[in-house]
Amino acid sequence: MNSVHSIRIRDLNVRRGGRSVLPGVSLDVRRGVVTGLLGPSGSGKTTLMRAIVGVQIVESGEVTVLGQPAGSPELRRVVGYVTQAPSVYGDLTVRENLRYFARILDAPDERVDEAMRTVALSERADQVVGTMSGGERSRVSLASALLGEPEVLVLDEPTVGLDPVLRRDLWNTFHELAAAGTTLLVSSHVMDEADRSDDLVLLREGRIVATGSPDDLRDQTHSDDLEDAFLVLAEAS
């Protein structure tokens, strides 16, 4: 398990509703860095993430996470996944939600407090989630994924609708987690977030248009701005 890549994808094909969403994707995701997955809505970001977590029925291809086939029972403890829509119990409080998921992961109760602190919800611990705003609910959902000290974190647009200050703090947390060895794959469609990623993967219509660090992509396209770089790369593909 000393490989530099914790996620390895080869010729991944996924069909949904009769059409090919990912027609043969290959990708390596480096361990211990934050990889940004960028692309417009409908480009296949969520499907790719679901395949990595192992909840997506795939047509063909190979997805390996930490050396194991995606979705292996051993991976359920070490891969954290946050869906785009918050998936927590609306009729429980923040703490009750996190306690339940902590029990499943056999994580100690201190992790519940730490996770609430990370997403800045300690003060709201006893509020029923159903009475919270959309952004707050996504934070509860994110906190649930941090409980088990995962080695791989797959986050589907975790910062949508969040206050810029909190967004910056969360990105700092992502980098701290990465520095401690966690592999993060974070999808987004916001360019300033892309710039905070160590590595970038640009996805368009199910195909990978480009990979590299934000600087690489700017150099490659001779543009100062990531948005322009993305346009150049998208049009060239």
Binding site: V53, I57, R76, R77, S87, V88, Y89, Y100, I104, D106
Partner: protein
């Protein structure tokens, strides 16, 4: 399988239910109110009330738990929490048994209240032991839960899930022998009723009430247990780790 996770799940389901005061009140007290209604509908016909009353104590929990479970499970599916659970180290059986334990506990309280009101306040009489009727009522609740869990996989919306009640539960009540003895129904229906779980649940309750505690009652109990296991296994197959 893990006792820790099963119990955590049962606790979580009960906490959700506790937060919904109105549902909890409806679940616990509506059967007792309906029994009161029956008592005065059959005013002056005590023999009839004594015949249909005891089985009803056990049939209410079946109906309630069937409904509550199908909606609860449908919510797990539509809210994405089921998908999250399926990506976590929880066994499908942990989830199913967690639900089973939680609803069996609620059913025990519900059946005790219903039986208490019926036998002590409404003057319902049964030759057999009341505690046994309550035990079968709880077993029936677990049966209703298991069937609700399985059938909820076939509902996409809560509207559909609620309609499963008249579609799957009412026919079973009609055919179970509560209204008309089964051997007086059309032969086809009698044969059909042999295949339905409620038939055995009703038979067990009627026998327990009549103090007919023989081999036939034991047979009913085994069949009910078999239906619970079958529905749970079928329910487990509808919980998918991977989806399209």
């Amino acid at each position: 399988m893990s006792a820790r996770i099963t119990l955590a799940t049962a606790g979580r389901v009960l906490r959700q239910l506790r937060r919904d005061h109105r549902t909890l009140a409806l679940v616990l007290f509506v059967p007792a109110l309906l029994m009161t209604l029956f008592r005065y509908v059959f005013d002056g016909q005590e023999a009839t009330f004594d015949r249909v009353g005891p089985p009803l104590v056990g049939i209410f929990p079946f109906v309630t738990m069937f409904l509550v479970t199908s909606i609860a499970m449908l919510r797990e599916r539509t809210s994405g929490t089921l998908e999250r659970l399926m990506s976590l180290p929880i066994a499908k059986l942990d989830l199913l048994l967690g639900y089973g334990l939680a609803f069996a506990a609620v059913a025990a309280v519900q059946a005790t209240i219903t039986a208490g009101v019926s036998f002590w306040l409404l003057g319902l009489d049964a030759a057999g032991p009341v505690w046994l009727i309550v035990v079968f009522a709880v077993g029936n609740a677990v049966l209703g839960m298991a069937l609700g869990l399985f059938l909820s996989a076939f509902a996409r919306t809560e509207f559909q899930a609620v309609q499963f009640m008249p579609a799957f539960v009412v026919p079973q009540i009609l055919l179970a022998g509560l209204l008309v003895p089964r051997d007086q129904m059309a032969r086809v229906l009698e044969l059909l009723s042999d295949l339905l779980p409620m038939t055995y649940a009703y038979d067990a309750l009627a026998r327990a009430a009549a103090d007919d505690l023989g081999r036939r009652l034991a047979f009913d109990a085994v069949v009910i247990g078999g239906f619970i296991v079958l529905a749970l296994v079928l329910g487990a197959t509808t919980l998918r780790r991977r989806t399209a």
